[in-house]
């Protein structure tokens, strides 16, 4: 129960962070990615703030046997670089630069009931479903769904 309360409160704080930082505004995202035009470096400060805090938290977590209110840590262990990582991240970047939304701000912006955010988020969820469907189609040939689906997530 405490773990679920942490998730709920963290979700609220996360969305405040996205809203205050400018991540929910495509003009800020596209301005940040416009390195060769009128570059707006603001969102670099989002990364600086978030990474410096989480860097310390991660170091702390390494010294702990288990998390405070859950049984164990679920930390990704993969360190191989594969073509799926590169292609997937490349496609994500194109979509991010095109629309100005990444997944977190897209979900948070649903609360604004603004049509652009709703259209983007519906398409994003369709894209995720499409990936899951293509994966399942491929895996049904292998007939080894359980093991492959259960491993390898970074996030």
């Amino acid at each position: 129960m405490r773990a679920l309360a942490t998730s709920f409160i963290s979700g609220i704080v996360f969305s405040f962070g996205l809203g205050i930082s400018g991540m929910t505004r495509p003009i800020k995202v596209i301005g940040f990615l416009d390195f060769l035009g009128s570059w707006d470096p603001s969102l670099a400060f989002v990364m600086i703030g978030a990474i410096s805090i989480f860097f310390v938290a991660f170091r702390q977590s390494r010294k702990m046997v288990s998390p405070l209110v859950a049984a164990r840590f679920a930390i990704p262990t993969r360190n191989d670089l594969d073509s799926q990582l590169l292609l997937g991240s490349a496609l994500f970047g194109v979509g991010w630069g095109l629309g100005g939304f990444c997944p977190g701000p897209a979900i948070v912006s649903l609360a604004a009931a603004a049509p652009p955010a709703a259209i983007f988020t519906a398409a994003m969820i369709s894209g995720m479903w499409l990936h899951s469907w293509s994966l399942r189609a491929r895996l049904s040939e292998v007939r080894d769904t359980a093991t492959v689906l259960g491993t390898g997530a970074d996030a």
Partner: protein
Amino acid sequence: MSNFTPLSSLIGGILIGLSASAMLLFDGKITGISGIVAGLLRPVRGETAWKTCFIVGLLTGGLLLRLFLPGAFAFGIVRPWPLLVLAGLLVGFGTRLGNGCTSGHGVCGVSRLSARSIVATATFVATGALTVFITNHLTKG
């Protein structure tokens, strides 16, 4: 540089870092939004409740922002809907194929000094920048 907001961006970033830190230290989870959303599309036993709570938290926070900081949703740039659909499909499919997005790779993974996440983040920032360069400078002149 006209819209430069280093302080609010830094404060927002710190809140994102605190949220992800609480998820790690209390729940033992990595906060990757694309993975959390996708996880709800394909539920796994024991993984659904916390993901649902986190997403409900995001939406609750969005409603509070709408009340107290409506400027957070001053999008500024709104692409035509066919482009938004294409962008959404690419973000959804790409984050699943690449196992993460700005939060899981960009914040949590880079902080963990994960080679995969550093490469992923460099890749999506590079292709994002290239996309913005093409849409802003080549099509509109």
